[in-house]
């Protein structure tokens, strides 16, 4: 890279927008980011306000992503903060709840599509143009190892929504390749987070016991890779999905 380019890029931190900071992965990630952060919460307004006061370079915004108006309102909230956003990490999803297709609920499914996919599309629609002008952006999304190979039984709504997000991620990676913007994703297997609350402990135990490493993934395992994807000098990697599964699923 020429000196000019280095200079030009030297001030490329900007703000990192973490969508879905409610999840333990989001929370852990924010801890590792010393620069300015805008944290989005959707589970609890209180948590959002609480966090805001913790750190002076952290803004927090509550937003219900389960409907188009909610997403629009959230984006307006972020815009109101009036800072250039150079990095976006997209984590929101509902906890995966096992269900047979015979219990398929179209409204619950469309709600999930809003939370995971429409939110990603509308947020990127809003903030990518400024990244293009700046010729720099880093986007990271959180998929699931269920997007790799044979998915588990009884999670068709969740898996389908994650696939929709995967397709969006790849399409946009291609659309923005060569504009200084990378769009990548991680695909973790079962991870120790508050989202596991919907599963009985013996199920989690049994997954850990069956895993060659004898444990499920931790937020730290995920955050380390997410951080790498946000690095300025990781610029030739886009559209990729990084399995974080301890060898239980990969391409």
């Amino acid at each position: 890279m020429s000196i000019e380019e280095i200079m030009e890029k030297s001030d490329r931190n900007g703000v990192t927008l973490v969508v879905g900071a409610d999840s333990d992965i989001g929370a852990k990630l924010i801890e590792t980011i010393s620069t300015d952060v805008i944290a989005h919460y959707y589970l609890s307004k209180e948590k959002a306000e609480a966090t805001a006061s913790n750190r002076d370079n952290l803004w927090s915004v509550y937003g219900d992503l389960s409907s188009v108006p909610g997403i629009t309102e959230f984006i307006q909230g972020v815009v109101a903060i009036d800072r250039h956003i150079s990095r976006i990490v997209h984590l929101p999803s509902s906890p995966a709840k096992p269900n047979r297709i015979t219990k398929f609920d179209p409204n619950r499914y469309l709600r999930e599509i809003n939370i995971q996919v429409v939110s990603a599309a509308m947020i990127l629609q809003a903030f990518l143009p400024a990244m293009v002008k700046d010729n720099f952006g880093r986007i990271a999304m959180v998929l699931t190892s269920y997007c790799i190979g044979v998915p588990p039984k009884y999670l068709s709504e969740y898996v389908s929504a994650k696939y929709a997000l995967m397709g969006l991620m790849k399409s946009l990676a291609v659309e923005y390749a060569g504009k200084g913007i990378t769009i990548n994703a991680v695909a973790p297997s079962m991870t120790e987070t508050n989202f596991l609350s919907t599963l009985p402990e013996f199920e989690i135990e049994s997954t850990a016991k069956a895993h060659p490493m004898g444990r499920i993934a931790t937020p730290e395992d995920i955050v380390g890779i997410l951080g790498m994807l946000l690095k300025q000098d990781i610029e030739y990697m886009t559209g990729t999905i990084i399995p974080i599964t301890g060898g239980t699923a990969f391409f």
Partner: protein
């Protein structure tokens, strides 16, 4: 709580999970006796039992449960 009472409560859980109020279970009842009794239902049954009796199962408890009888033995053990 005696075994009969436990069996009765567990039977209600089965009727609820399989949407079938005619289900009658005995100690010998197992997954082959009830259509749709697969991994998902087994988990739901165990979770419902945990709630119903306010007990908690470990993986070692629930691995290899083969029929209703063994499940009730387990509940009894947890309650005692």
């Amino acid at each position: 709580m005696n075994r009969a009472e436990i069996l009765d409560r567990v039977q209600n859980i089965f009727r609820d999970i399989f949407d079938d109020n005619d289900i009658l279970i005995t100690d010998e009842t197992n997954a082959t006796d009830i259509e749709d009794w697969e991994s998902l239902e087994q988990i739901n049954i165990l979770v419902a039992i945990q709630k119903e009796f306010s007990i908690k199962f470990s993986i070692d408890d629930v691995e290899g449960l083969e029929n209703v009888g063994q499940t009730i033995d387990l509940i009894e053990a947890k309650l005692s």
